[in-house]
């Protein structure tokens, strides 16, 4: 407890650093995933290829990826860029699939009807398909954000400071509270990101909040089973 009282500034500084490291991969991952997800959604062939590659990349343990990337990309091992790129790759791996699934989830009838009333392809994508894909994309974005915040901590093992510093430093000094603070801090940050995304979703997608007049048939079936 001693430690906690004396180190609130440190925790705060590290948290700020942690946030700073977390944002670029999430934002970049999101931006990159839109065209990739669209490609995967639009063309069967690219879908298989893209999602397989994404899945494989996601499979590689983070620390290993931090080490493999620099020689492949010709960047410095110590560089923050390394972490940013690695975490962006993970975010893309999650989000490209989400975007593809999300576009898939758009009712084809709505897509058809938008075409039928005279939407051109570009306008239809941004005015109809993308917003309607929103809820599923958001779900993916939440997963990506939370997992990015959690993965940033591994960066400490190659010298990139974040709340992960509290893990190694706490272990060396044998201070349980310090490690615990790192753990809780990271989870709180993740929660914060999640909350902000949920709020942003509410704000940007008001129709998802509108409660249906009649329960949808599937919802009714579910309740019927619980008798």
């Amino acid at each position: 407890m001693n430690w906690l009282v004396g180190n609130l500034d440190l925790i705060f500084e590290l948290a700020v650093e942690h946030v700073r490291l977390s944002i670029p991969p999430i934002v970049l991952g999101f931006l990159i995933s839109i065209p990739l997800g669209w490609l995967a959604f639009r063309f069967r062939l690219t879908r298989g290829l893209l999602l397989t590659v994404a899945g494989l990349l996601y499979t590689i343990p983070s620390l290993a990826l931090f080490v493999i990337l620099p020689p492949v990309l010709g960047i410095s091992f110590l560089s923050e860029l390394n972490i940013t790129i690695a975490l962006t790759i993970y975010a893309v791996a999650i989000l490209a699939r989400s975007v593809a699934d999300a576009l898939d989830s758009v009712d084809p009838a709505v897509r058809q009807s938008a075409t039928a009333v005279g939407y051109g392809p570009w306008r239809r994508f941004w005015g109809v398909e993308f917003p309607l894909a929103g809820p599923v994309i958001l779900a993916g974005l939440r997963v990506a954000a939370v997992s990015t915040v959690s993965l940033v901590t591994v960066g400490i093992l190659i010298g990139v400071e974040s709340l992960g510093y509290l893990f190694t430093n706490g272990l060396q000094r044998g201070i349980l509270v310090e490690v615990f603070a790192g753990l809780i801090g990271t989870m709180l940050l993740a929660l914060l990101f999640d909350l902000m995304l949920v709020l942003a979703g509410r704000l940007l997608m008001p129709w998802t909040r509108a409660s249906a007049l009649t329960p949808s048939p599937s919802a009714r079936v579910v309740t019927a089973v619980q008798v």
Partner: protein, 272 residues
């Protein structure tokens, strides 16, 4: 007038949906395409607004081949109503109705004003204007769909099983509403259904389709009923099951018309 001239459609996967199809659809009347699943009704309907382009043959509107019209512009001129309404779930009712005028650049205020008027036309309470489609019942959604189809005051209204998904009672209501509307608006309506009763109810001209868009029979409902062209038509309209052969039976002092199976179809009100 809409004219199909020896139209054929083969989809990229090799399915031939429609072949040797020719038909004249007169203006200001309702033409109903009726046929079972896969007979090519939707495909034919969509050729009119270029959602599908024919592989060969031509579709003309007032003498102009549709292939010469830019599809986006063409579609904005033609109303289209489909099953499940096809409303944009993320737009309020009023914005859904105003979609096409807005796409065409009509000022927002004006478009919304017109949308509210259309809500009156199709019998929707203006109080629903700010709801999202999911907050409406199926029947109300279909009304919004019709209102949207009418928003640019099109000469042509295409309707693809617009009432297929609603409850029979609501459907009967919507059918009546459409008849009323059509009497006052006088659009060229092309209506697709696979319900022969609906076809007989709504169609000035009824076209019965077989697989591949082959026309089994074309005529007014009474013509078809009086003289089914062949066995297929007879089966389709239920004549072969005796469903259309009605006999009179006394029940409780009233003259009930029963079909071949003894199932009642109605009550006779007037002797010949």
């Amino acid at each position: 007038m809409i004219e199909f001239r020896d139209v054929r459609k083969e989809f990229p996967d090799g399915t031939v949906a429609v072949e040797h199809f020719s038909l004249v659809i007169p203006s200001r009347e309702t033409t109903v395409l009726v046929g079972s699943s896969g007979s090519g009704k939707t495909t034919l309907l969509r050729m009119i607004n270029r959602m599908v382009d024919p592989s060969s043959g031509a579709v003309e509107i007032d003498g102009e081949n549709v292939l010469e019209i830019d599809p986006v512009r063409l579609r904005r001129r033609i109303g289209y109503v489909m099953q499940n309404s096809g409303l944009l779930p993320h737009r309020k009712v009023v914005d859904n109705i105003a979609t096409v005028p807005l796409l065409n650049g009509t000022p927002k205020r004006q478009a919304r004003e017109r949308a509210l008027q259309l809500m009156d036309t199709v019998g929707l309470d203006r109080a629903m204007a700010d709801r999202y489609p999911s907050q409406l019942s199926g029947g109300q959604q279909q009304r919004v769909g019709v209102a949207r189809g009418l928003a640019v005051d099109p000469n042509i209204l295409l309707m693809d099983e617009p009432f297929g998904a609603v409850d029979p009672i609501v459907r009967a209501d919507l059918q009546q509403e459409l008849r009323r509307l059509q009497q006052s608006l006088g659009k060229t309506v092309v209506f697709v259904t696979h319900d022969i009763d609906e076809a007989f109810l709504l169609g000035d001209q009824v076209v019965i389709l077989q697989q591949g868009g082959r026309i089994a029979q074309r005529g007014t409902p009474a013509e078809i009923l009086a003289a089914p062209a062949d066995d297929f038509v007879a089966t389709f309209i239920g004549a072969d099951r005796g469903k259309r052969e009605l006999r009179v039976r006394e029940v409780g002092g009233r003259r009930v018309l029963v079909d071949g199976d003894g199932r009642p179809a109605g009550v006779l009100t007037e002797t010949p």
